[in-house]
Amino acid sequence: MKNILIIGANSAIAKATARLYAQEHCRLYLLGRDSAALAEQRQDLLIRGASEVDIAPLDVTHFAVHEAVIDQAVGLLGQLDLVLICHGSLPDQELCQNDFDAALEAFNINALSVISLLTHLCRHMMTQNSGCIAVITSVAGDRGRQSNYVYGAAKGMVSRYLQGLRGRLFPHNIDVVDIRPGFVDTPMTEHLPKGALWASPEQVAQAVVKGIAKRRTTVYAPAFWRLIMLIVRCIPEFLFKRLRF
């Protein structure tokens, strides 16, 4: 039985992952914006076998409350075996490139809030000398593309941050897992046309659970994205800048 803190628990990937951990009888603490949805999920997870489920509201863009919220979670769970950070938004690239306020908001949600939460979390986790931090980033963070570079830059920032943090926490026996999903069919991407590369949140959740269990550092979900992104990263910049994607 593990103690798991999930931030952004109403995201489709978080929900699907929480269900898998519930079936392993884990104890869960869910943080998310929509309290009614959290309460609904709490019931669901208890029926699925979670040993205990607590919920609390959190708007990740209110940085000021982060410390108190994390303290409260630690107070309740004691040991944090796994922290899963899942919140995010898909900003409108066109809006963001013309309106800095929109871009700032996208960075606040997708990057700075994660860094703020990790800052407070690390203090606690370093004292326990065990555990795992897993963050949902994105394949979009692997390279800036003109069609989606604000989101990509934010997710890429988190990936870089995690790289450094991984080294810092290594002596403390804490795993840092960077989970990079490809296209996932969730409410966040509801408006986009779907093709063969799209995965379901359940598929990603399985990759998340497996990656964490195997103590991987970077998990591409589904796994074929590792190859795709390897190729994308290898394209020379003089060519890449001419590509319209």
Partner: protein
């Protein structure tokens, strides 16, 4: 966007919404109602596993995001869950704890809402009836956005119109199901070979008391071998053995050319399948998933029928003349050389009180035909045979039945139309199928 269901025929141009909660669903219904386009009707959709056009409309409200468990009474086995919850989801959680769904169709990739709306039946219909007979109660969102609770006792008219109602009374938001206690996740299966149609009918009658029974039939066999089949009997094992349910990985990655399925390949397959080594009547222990959902182990098997998709033809014929009627149907099919890979014969129990429920005391035969214009006249001929014998076609499989055939074989359609008018459903809820059938 282009949308189709499991048979991949027909294809509709639809706008799909996936509401995340009941408030969003109500808002989506209101939006549809106030859209001033030529046809602003909508229908609820679950996993899209009906075969034809029952879950297609200009606006489609997909319930896959409404998939949470709401409550579970461990003593009574009463599970309340949102309508988009799939049977797979329920079984993966509940089977290891000793609970099974009282009725399951041939795939577990269906939602609870869809199972109720189609009033699906399973291999135990002759003893346990259809899915909705194990629904304690359900909640239905009407065209107005108002939610009504109904059950066999509370609002029974609405309940019996909604069960088997093909989504035409409103959108089911959640339901309470009565689960069955089982003592193992395994099924004890016996396979019996029947050399012709008389034989398999006799075997069905002889094994009436067996919980589960279904026959796979070689629909291309002719003459004295007409209707030769393998009858699969099953009972829940009783040995406290619960193994975890595995994941299948086999998938048909792309649509294969339809010409691969022709009378020669099908005849070869059917013959080989019939002659496969079977230890007659010997009891085998297999996992429930394999017994109930063999085709679920091949993802996207519908792609085998090619780009144009396929039609599923499922009819039921009342007991009195089931044997001669089935003989006539099979003769017509083998004469035309239009076989199907999967021909399934099953004995059904008595009909229930639902207005548009398919099952009735008799025998049902289900066949797949790849879509081609030449198939339509053959199916029209089969329709005539079904009508002559007082039978009908399963709405969840249908993509082509005529309005006349529907009205003659579902005599309670007028009551359905009345309830739709009373609740205002006829202003909003239409599928391509309901338009075609004049409901």
């Amino acid at each position: 966007m282009k949308l189709s269901s499991w048979g991949r025929y027909p294809i509709s141009d639809s706008t799909e919404c996936r509401p995340r909660n009941n408030a969003a669903l109500a808002a989506a219904l209101a939006q549809t109602l106030h859209t001033h386009s030529a046809d602003s009707s909508c229908i609820a959709r679950g996993m899209g596993r009906s075969y034809g056009d029952s879950a297609l409309a200009p606006w489609v409200h997909t319930t896959t995001a409404l998939d949470h468990f709401i409550s579970f009474d461990e003593n009574e086995g009463l599970l309340r869950c949102a309508a988009g919850t799939t049977l797979e989801n329920i079984l993966r959680v509940m089977m290891p704890r000793g609970w099974f769904l009282p009725v399951v169709p041939g795939t577990w990739h269906v939602s609870v809402g869809g199972a109720i709306a189609s009033d699906v039946h399973g291999k135990n219909h002759h003893l346990d009836g259809s899915f909705s007979q194990h629904v304690e109660s359900l909640r239905l969102m009407l065209a107005s956005g108002e939610i009504q609770q109904c059950s066999a006792q509370e609002n029974p008219h609405l309940f019996h119109a909604t069960c088997a109602g093909m989504g035409l009374t409103g959108v089911i938001t959640d339901a309470t199901l009565r689960l069955r206690r089982v003592h193992s996740s395994a099924i004890l299966q016996r396979t019996l070979r029947a050399s012709n149609l008389d034989d398999v009918f006799a075997l069905f009658e002889a094994h009436h008391d067996t919980r589960y029974s279904v026959a796979w039939l070689d629909c291309l066999a002719r003459g004295s071998a007409l209707g030769r089949s393998l009858l699969y009997l099953g009972e829940h094992a009783d040995d406290e053995g619960f193994s975890p349910i595995g994941n299948s990985r086999v998938s048909v990655p792309f649509t294969t050319p339809a010409f691969l399925l022709n009378r020669y390949s099908m005849s070869l397959f059917n013959s080989a399948y019939y002659h496969k080594p079977v230890r007659n009547a010997l009891e085998q222990r297999i996992e429930a998933k394999q017994y109930f959902f063999p085709l679920d182990s091949i993802q996207h098997w519908n792609r085998l029928y090619g780009k144009r998709g396929f039609l599923q033809y499922q009819c039921v014929i009342p007991d009195a003349t089931a044997l001669p009627a089935m003989r006539e149907i099979l003769t017509r099919i083998s004469d035309a050389g239009k076989g199907s890979f999967l021909s399934v014969l099953k004995k059904l129990g008595p009909a229930n009180h639902n207005l548009l429920s398919f099952p009735l005391a008799g025998y049902t035969l289900a066949l797949d035909f790849k879509f081609e214009p030449a198939i339509l006249p053959l199916l029209d001929t089969l329709d005539q045979i079904v009508l002559e014998h007082g039978g009908r076609l399963y709405l969840a499989k249908d993509a082509r039945m005529s309005q006349d055939m529907f009205r003659r074989s579902y005599p309670r359609w007028e009551e359905m139309a009345q309830i739709r008018a009373q609740t205002g459903a006829d202003r909003l809820f239409h599928s391509l199928q309901s338009r075609r059938l004049g409901l």
